[in-house]
Amino acid sequence: MDPFTLALGGFTEPAVFLTLLLSVAVGLVIGAIPGLSVNIAVALAVPLTIFMPTDQALVLLIGLYGSGIFGGSVSAILLNAPGTPASAATIFDGFPMAQQGLATKALRISLIGSLFGATFSVILLVMVAPELASFALSFGPVEIASLLLFTFFVIGILSGASLAKGLLSAAVGMVLATIGSDPMLGTPRFTFGQTSLMDGLTYVPLLVGLFALAEILEEATRGFRQAVGKFNLDGEDRARNRITGKDLKLIAFPVVRASAIGSSIGILPGIGATIASFLAYGDAKRAARDKSQFGKGDVRGVAASESANNAVVGATFIPTLALGIPGDAVTAILLGALVLQGVTPGPLIFITNPQVVYTIYLALLFATMLMAVLGFMAIRPLAMTLRIPKIYLMPSVALICIAGAYVARNNIIDVWVMFGAGIMGFVFNRTGVPVAPLLITFIITRPFEEALRQALTRSEGSFEPFFTNPVTLTLAAIVAAAFALAFWRDLKGRAAARPDKEQENG
C-alpha cells in the first residue's frame, strides 16, 4: 500500500478520529479564551504525544493549531479581545459589528474567511512546498527589513482621521518595543534589572490589555449598565445576520487577496500570522472603493483578517516540511514533537517518512473541515453570550484576562503589563488616538531592527544592498504607486467637492 493510502487509512481509526474531533473542539475553545493562545495549548499537548503513535500525535497538535486560529476570532468579535494574537486585526471591524447586533454575521464571515484561507494554504502546501521553500530561504535580512518597513506604511492606512495621532501612537509602540534586550548584543535596554523584561513586554498580555481591558474599563465608566437593546427581536436578528449573496460578492476578492498575502508571509519563517493579518486588512481597506465603513463594521475587514491568519497555518508548514526549519513557534513545537517520535524533519522527510507528510496534509485538511462544521454550529450559541448582562460578563472576562496574562509565562509582571496596557488603551480611546498603529509598530519594531542590523553587519555599515535589492525596489515601487493613487484620488475627491461647495455658496 502506498504511503498516501496508509495515511488516509490512519484517519479511519477511531482513536485518531476522536483525537481530531477533540483537538479541534478544544482548540476552538482555547483560541476563544483571551489570554490563552494556541501556542500554550499546543505546547501543553506535547507531553501527551510522547507515548502516542505518530499519526495520532500529529492529529492532536494540528487540530489544536488550525482551529485555535479561528477560535481567536470569536473573542475578538464578541469581546474585543483577540483570543490569539493572530486575530488582532479582526477586532477592528468584528467588534463594531457585534456592537451593532451583527455578531452572528461577523462570526459567520470570519468562519468563511478562515475556511477559505486555510484551504488555500493547504493546497499551496501540497502542490508547491519544495519550490516555495527555496524561495523563502532566499529572503535574507535585507529583504525582511524591506518587507517590515513596508508594513510600517500600513500604519498610515490604519490611522483613520488623524494622521498625526496615528503616527504618535505608532511612535509610542516603537518606544515600548525597545524595552528588552538588544537583538544583536544582548545588552538590556530599559529593563531596570528585571530579567523577566529581557525579552521585551510580553505580547499577549499587552494585546489583551490594550483591547479587552481597555474596553472593560470603558464599560466600567458606564457602570456596566446594559445598553438599551434595540435588537432584541429574534426575527429581526436573524434577518440582519444572514449572509447574503451581496456579502459574498463583496468579500470574494478581499478573501482571495488576503489568503495570498497570508500564505506569502506564512512561508517566510519568523514573520507570523499577526503581521499577515494586519497587512491583509490594510490591503483590503486600501483596495476598497468605499472605505468609510472600515473600522465601523465592514465585513471585508473581518474576512480579510481571518483569511490571512488561517492562510498562514498551512503556509508555515512549507519551510517546516521542506527544510526542517520551523515557520513559527507552533511549528517549532510540532517539529520537536516529531523528533521525540523519532521522525527527523528535514528535506528528506518526503523520502524517509512520506506517510508522516501525508498525515500532516490530511490532518490540516480534515481539521479545517471539522473546524468549519463545529464552528458553524457553535456560532449562534456563542453570539448569545453577548446577551449576558454586562455586569456579570465583563468582570468575568476581566478575571479570565488576569489569569490568562499570568499564565503566559507564569510571571506576575505580565499581569502588570496587561494592566498598564489597559490604562493606556483606555486613555487612547478617550483622546481619539488610534490604538492599532501602536500595536503594529510594537510587533514589527524588533524583527525590523534585528533584520536591519543583521544586514548592516553583513555589509559593514553600508546601505548599498538596500538600493540594489530586487525585493526592496519592488516594495518601494508598490508604496510609491499606492501613495500616488491615494493622492490622485484625494485630488479628484476635492475637485468633486468644490463644485458642490460653489453651488452652496453661490
Binding site: S162, F190, T221, P395, I402, A403, V415
Partner: protein, 152 residues
C-alpha cells in the same frame, strides 16, 4: 485643555525623560560591558529614533488643534473606570501573596458590590464557581499552577 493635548504633553514629557535619561544610560552600560561586536548601528540607535518620533508627533498633535473630537469627553464616568482599575490592580498585587483563588473571589465580590449587581444569585454562583473553575482547568488540564497561598 482638550484631553488629547494633555496626552500629547504627557507623551512629550515622557519622550524627554526617555531620550534624556534612559537612552544615554543604555549607551553607558554598553561601553562598560565592552564585549561583543560593535558595528555602526548600536543599541541606542533605534531608541533614539523612537523617542524622537514620539517627541515630534506629540508636538504635531499639540499643534493640530481640535481636529478629531472623540465620542465621549474624557472625564465622563472616569470615577467608575478608576475604581475598576483599582480593583484590578489590587487583585494583581494580592495574587502572588494570598493566592489566585482568594484574590479572584475577592475581586468578583468587590466588583459586584460596587457596581450593584441586581441578581444576587447569579453573582453568588459566579463568585463561588468562576475562580475555582479557572484555577482547576488551568491546573489540571494545562498543568499551569496559578499562585497558591500557603494554606490553599
Amino acid at each position: 485643555m482638550a484631553a488629547d493635548r494633555v496626552l500629547a504633553l504627557v507623551l512629550l514629557a515622557g519622550a524627554a525623560v526617555y531620550l534624556g535619561i534612559l537612552v544615554p544610560e543604555v549607551g553607558r552600560a554598553q561601553t562598560a560591558l565592552g564585549t561583543g561586536d560593535f558595528y555602526t548601528v548600536g543599541p541606542t540607535a533605534l531608541p533614539t529614533f523612537a523617542g524622537a518620533m514620539v517627541a515630534i508627533f506629540s508636538i504635531a498633535v499639540l499643534a493640530q488643534g481640535r481636529r478629531t473630537v472623540p465620542a465621549a469627553s474624557f472625564g465622563e464616568g472616569l470615577f467608575g473606570g478608576a475604581v475598576f482599575a483599582l480593583l484590578v490592580a489590587v487583585t494583581a498585587i494580592l495574587m502572588p501573596r494570598i493566592g489566585f483563588l482568594p484574590a479572584a473571589t475577592g475581586f468578583l465580590v468587590a466588583v459586584f458590590l460596587v457596581y450593584r449587581a441586581t441578581r444576587w444569585w447569579i453573582a453568588l454562583i459566579l463568585v463561588l464557581a468562576l475562580p475555582i473553575l479557572i484555577d482547576q482547568v488551568l491546573r489540571k488540564v494545562f498543568l499551569i499552577p496559578l499562585p497558591q497561598a500557603p494554606f490553599f
